[in-house]
């Protein structure tokens, strides 16, 4: 019996705009195990960031969680708290935010305030959630900054965001996110806006911190390479739906969904002989006018009109599921390439 920390069940988040309703998250379900890393991968606009905000019940109007459950198990044997059912301004939700589930964002530049010192911003949640005195909170902040590998932490506390480099800002955000010992860290594309060297350092840092602090990580990215490095389990999202869920080895070595397969083929690989890199044909459809039936069908090479009308989220094996009506045909096709 796996030790579940967070269980998302059939989550729907809609944005009610004057032009129409956008179903940003459309029936997503997954589980995060205590201390493990779940990778969420998908193209821009597939709803992964909205989902991350939904977990903290932070979706702002015109967006709203329409239905579904977000069950949070603070302790292994404690009854779950359904975050989706709480008022988004309630004290209960605010206690969970940062105290239990912390979040770091894509833009380290703008996710820190331009007009407050690092000290001011770091001490704030520590005092709020840990009830420490100002001096104790400051000492705690210094320890954390040193732990994420930042030199001169005391001096750093007096700095402003524009005085730091991109990598330093993201380290500050990570230190801040860990300040209240969260059980889950949601990382929304934390390495997208930094260069590759810094990206590798940050991933290493996060892995090291996970061993030390024991928190689970929900890592959101569009980069499959990053997923391969850090995730234990993977959710592949497309247009607000999960199209494939499996452990990281299965996703990379035995993907079932045509979309996952196409994503993998479009990664440049140095060991393959030089040829034109494959792309997925077409574009992500307009979110106001989603395709009928299988959402991926306009771009799918295996599409058969009647077969793909209503693809089930099918179990490939016990922990591997894919939303495709033709999983088994495709498997056969791929396994007999010589015929």
């Amino acid at each position: 019996m796996p030790d579940i920390l967070l269980e998302v069940k059939d989550l729907h988040v809609n944005f009610f705009l004057t032009e129409g309703t956008v179903k940003a998250v459309n029936g997503v379900s997954f589980k995060i195990e205590r201390g493990k890393t779940l990778g969420i991968v998908g193209e821009s606009g597939c709803g992964k960031s909205v989902m991350a905000r939904a977990i903290l019940n932070m979706v702002r109007p015109p967006g709203r969680i329409v239905s579904g459950e977000i069950n949070y198990y603070s302790q292994p044997d404690s009854p779950p708290i359904n975050i989706a059912s709480l008022n988004r301004n309630s004290a209960q939700v605010r206690r969970i935010r940062w105290g239990e589930i912390a979040m770091i964002f894509q833009e380290p530049m703008t996710s820190l305030s331009p007009v407050h010192t690092i000290s001011n911003q770091m001490i704030e949640p520590i005092q709020l959630h840990l009830n420490l005195s100002k001096q104790a909170a400051k000492n705690h902040a210094v320890e954390l900054l040193a732990r994420v590998g930042l030199p001169n932490p005391e001096q750093l506390l007096t700095r402003y965001r524009h005085e730091l480099s991109g990598g330093m800002r993201q380290r500050v955000m990570i230190a801040m996110a860990l300040s209240c010992n969260p059980k889950l860290l949601i990382a929304d594309e934390p390495t997208t806006a930094v260069d590759v060297t810094t990206q590798a350092q940050i991933l290493n840092l996060m892995r090291g911190l996970q061993d030390e602090f024991g928190m689970a990580i929900m890592f959101i990215t569009h980069a499959l390479g990053v997923i391969a490095e850090i995730a234990d389990d993977v959710v592949v999202m497309y247009l607000g739906e999960e199209v494939e869920v499996a452990d990281v080895d299965t996703i990379f070595h035995d993907p079932s969904h045509p979309y996952t397969q196409a994503l993998l083929r479009s990664i440049p690989r140095p060991d393959m002989k030089l040829k034109r890199l494959e792309t997925i044909k077409g574009n992500v459809p307009d979110p106001m006018h989603l395709p009928q039936g299988c959402k991926y069908h306009p771009r799918c090479r295996y599409y058969i009109p009647t077969r793909c009308a209503n693809p089930p989220f099918e179990r490939v094996s016990s922990e591997h599921r894919a939303r495709c009506a033709r999983i088994h045909d495709i498997k056969e096709q791929l396994s007999e390439p010589t015929s």
Binding site: V93, W98, F105, S111, L112, S113, V115, E124, P125, Y160
Partner: protein, 328 residues
């Protein structure tokens, strides 16, 4: 920070010097020297001017000497004795007239700014956080109404209300019985009871504009990731809004401190005349009409200096509020 302030002080000093030159040129512009017209004025009224007195004034202002010497004497008198010369119209020293009105001008100006801020900032924040809500539309409507109604009309209406509903004496800043009375608590309270009319009138025309500015700035800032960080930290929503985006959106307000005073003096002259306010605006208008050049020059000079000081204050406030500005 100290370096920043020193640099700003030096620029301010240079600017004030340049302004003094321009003001002096204004004084010199009318043909002939003012003493001739002063003498002529007095003679016309049948008064005889003793030759010694004219000679003393000629010496005092350096008339007949090179223009640089005249400028030097003018500036020296201002700097050392606060002596701006004499008003040709009334014969009273300009400084006496100025000191009579300057404090009240500043008082009306500052209280109007205060009124504008107290009204515009919360409404702007509310309108932005409740964009397109019913109240947002109501505030927008009222704001544009305030912008569209001429100030002097509003002044007349409010005066009537104050008189008919509250039985207040209207016009001016004091009731008649306190006009010449020495300062006391009662006089101060009387002043406060009169101050609200100009405060509201001068304020309304600005409030609308600043509500729009605040709303637009807030809408820009509300979607910034740092606001989301604040929210994710588990802060209360009002605390998130007031600590982060409001703080950043305030910058344009601080920069208005600089030109608030001259705008209030210059922009609401008609209102000041209608309300019979003892401020600099009506005085300047009268000085210009009467070609009372020492008076006009002195007022232009004072207003410009106030602008420079206001700008200096807003620069320093901005640097305190926004660390990015200190860099340069």
């Amino acid at each position: 920070m100290v370096k920043f302030i020193i640099r700003r002080l030096v620029t301010a000093a240079v600017t004030i010097w340049a302004i003094s030159v321009v003001s002096f040129v204004i004084i010199q512009l009318p043909p002939g020297d003012f003493l001739t017209s002063y003498e002529a004025n007095l003679r016309q009224m049948g008064e005889n001017v003793p030759e010694e007195q004219l000679e003393a004034m000629r010496e005092r202002y350096g008339l007949g000497e090179p223009i640089v010497t005249q400028y030097y004497k003018w500036v020296k008198a201002i700097l050392l004795h606060g002596d701006f010369g004499r008003s040709m119209e009334s014969g009273v020293p300009v400084s006496v007239l100025l000191w009579d009105r300057l404090p009240l001008t500043v008082l009306v100006g500052l209280s109007s700014i205060l009124f504008v801020w107290v009204v515009a900032i919360p409404i702007g924040v509310y309108s932005a956080t409740h964009q397109y809500s019913l109240m947002d539309h109501v505030f927008t409507f009222l704001g544009f109404l305030g912008l569209a109604i001429p100030n002097f009309l509003l002044a007349l209406v409010l005066m009537w209300v104050a008189w008919s509903e509250f039985g207040q004496s209207v016009g001016g800043l004091y009731s008649p019985e306190y006009k010449a009375a020495p300062w006391s608590m009662a006089k101060f309270l009387d002043l406060l009871s009169h101050l609200w009319i100009p405060m509201v009138i001068v304020g309304t025309s600005w409030t609308a504009g600043l509500i729009r500015t605040m709303r637009a700035n807030m809408l820009d800032e509300l979607n910034q990731p740092y606001v989301e960080t604040g929210r994710a930290k588990g802060l209360r929503e009002w605390r998130v809004v007031w600590k982060y985006p409001v703080r950043v959106a305030l910058n344009p307000f601080i920069s208005t401190v600089g030109y608030a005073l001259p705008q209030i003096v210059g922009g609401v002259v008609i209102t000041a005349v209608v309300l019979n306010l003892p401020t600099l605006g009506p005085l300047l208008v009268r000085a210009l009409l009467a070609q009372d050049m020492f008076m006009a020059g002195a007022i232009v000079m004072i207003l410009s200096v106030l602008t420079v000081i206001g700008t200096l204050i807003s620069d320093i406030l901005l640097a305190i509020l926004d660390p990015r500005i200190r860099l340069e």
